[in-house]
Subunit: 290 residues, 2 copies
DNA sequence: CGAGATATCTGACTAAAGTCAGATATATGC
DNA sequence: GCATATATCTGACTTTAGTCAGATATCTCG
């Protein structure tokens, strides 16, 4: 029972038998699961019928009937899409919004109840993040976002906190050459956030300069998402963006206290070069010609 | 999205949509889920029909039909129970054992496949253990076991390893007064292992002595199971066993590098006493009168 | 404009799971 | 021995989910 395979299977059993209890929010309101799922998909902002069908993996006939039953209940209204009358868009009515709110409340209460049972909620949440990221790894999207968006700022806070923990001397952003947000917006550069579901789990910035090269900054992957090769995906996406922007030379700096980063650069075509700036934190410098 | 409730809900979503993929082992052999579940329950050693029905939460009519379909396939045989001919016991036939083995192989392959996708399997497994323990906390059983059983030895190994990490000077069992296994067997004492499903996640020993008291030794809770108040349950069970054995005075020693242990003793009726042995590791001594 | 593609809907069907009311056989307690 | 309880089985039924083949309306492109 102590080998890895048995441990995974134990987890599967625990989760399978608890999933009913973990997410009973779809139940308990006297509606079959299928209809409840459609209602919740609409509530969560999906309105295009084809999109919902695709998201829930439903047959078009079944989808049509479920939608009809929600209309009969007075919870949903469908109209033809303005620019393509074959497509339909679904919207919650006032009663539908009430019903959706009730599902949300159930779901929240249930998650709170689960957390309340456990005195070490932090460790439990970290474990849940890790597993959720692992399970949804193929659904992680890399989105270009503003470096001052909520998601980007979250990543940067976490990134600085981690540097503080990992550098012997700590880390103080104000001492470092913090890139200006405007250098990480198109067309000078960009900022990419890796999103798992709605949780930001990694980021990287491409910072334009006036020195004939662009810099890669702030590459970070959440602890809960390590081991999914996300660093590599982020770097690939940044390089692609740099090519699009006509950039031909990339540079970056890093620190030997972050060995996994150095390792990543060395195995993906970067070459070590001499120090090219006077930032006090980095002690390793790389460049890559595109 | 970054608050605890949202994180739990993200986990729920991830797991709910992955559960199909997490445990598809019940599928893919051309048998409906219900029948496959019954076959597997029997394969895992449940033979009493009423017990299976209860375990799987099935209606008696449905159970009867599922069992009949497995019999028709030649996978299962049922006979009347020897001492009560109303009850039936189910057993796998040779073909049934083959089929069960195929399910097991599928399940193992699938768990292996999942692990193979992740480079940080250790962290993932630790997270899975933690969550599985949290989800099944109310199903943790405390079983009296031989101190030399596989389960007990696993707990002790983990316990020693943890002391090694937490004591500044490390920990060497041979320097400590390691209790003799025979002092932790009835009627002199006992040894209790906390089992979650089939994984040992905690232990405690009650060691009989000839000095008018018994000692509590080796209280340990797996990191994956902390925060579930398991330490307290283990202590309660040990005290109950001590009372049964006619023991009226308990003593124990511990170390101030394990603050959560000292805290537990202080809040559960133990009083600090002067050193009562010459073991080099402990620096705190407690006693409790039953 | 017309052919073919696309999005949705409708009707007819199946499989699986589950419910419920007895029927049957056996056990238990007086 | 008999009334009552228990374990299982059988038949009749419902609900839910899902499949599939067309019907209908609309769009797109030459």
């Amino acid at each position: 029972m102590l080998n890895p395979v048995s441990r995974v299977r134990r987890f599967n059993r625990a989760v399978t038998s608890a999933v009913g209890a973990l997410d009973t929010s779809f139940l308990g309101r006297g509606r079959p699961l299928g209809a409840a799922r459609v209602l919740n998909a609409i509530g969560h902002g999906r309105s295009d019928v084809a999109e919902i069908r695709d998201y829930l993996g439903l047959d078009s006939g079944l989808m049509s009937r479920l939608l009809r039953s929600l209309e009969d209940e007075g919870l949903v209204e469908t109209t033809a899409q303005a620019d393509d009358a074959r497509r339909r868009v679904a919207k919650l009515t006032r009663a539908g919004r009430r019903e959706f709110a009730a599902y949300e409340a159930l779901s929240n209460a249930q998650a709170e109840g689960f957390l309340a049972q456990h005195s070490q909620a932090d460790a439990l949440l970290a474990a849940m993040d890790l597993i959720a990221s692992a399970l949804t790894r193929e659904r992680v999207t890399l989105d270009e976002m503003d470096p001052q968006s909520e998601e980007a700022r979250h990543c940067l806070r976490e990134y600085y906190a981690e540097l503080g923990r990992r550098f012997k001397q700590g880390f103080d952003v104000s001492l470092s050459r913090d890139p200006d947000a405007k250098d990480m917006r198109r067309p000078r550069g960009t900022f990419i956030v890796a999103m798992s579901d709605t949780l930001p789990i990694g980021c990287v910035g491409l910072k334009g300069t006036d020195h004939g090269y662009a810099e890669i900054k702030r590459l970070w992957v959440a602890p809960a998402a390590r081991g999914l090769r996300l660093g590599r995906r982020l770097m690939d996406a940044t390089e692609a963006a740099a090519r699009e922007l006509g950039i031909t030379l990339l540079r970056l700096d890093t620190n030997s206290a972050l060995p996994e980063a150095g390792q990543l650069y060395r195995t993906t075509g970067w070459s070590e070069i001499p120090r090219f700036n006077d930032d006090p934190y980095p002690d390793l410098f790389f460049e890559k010609r595109l």
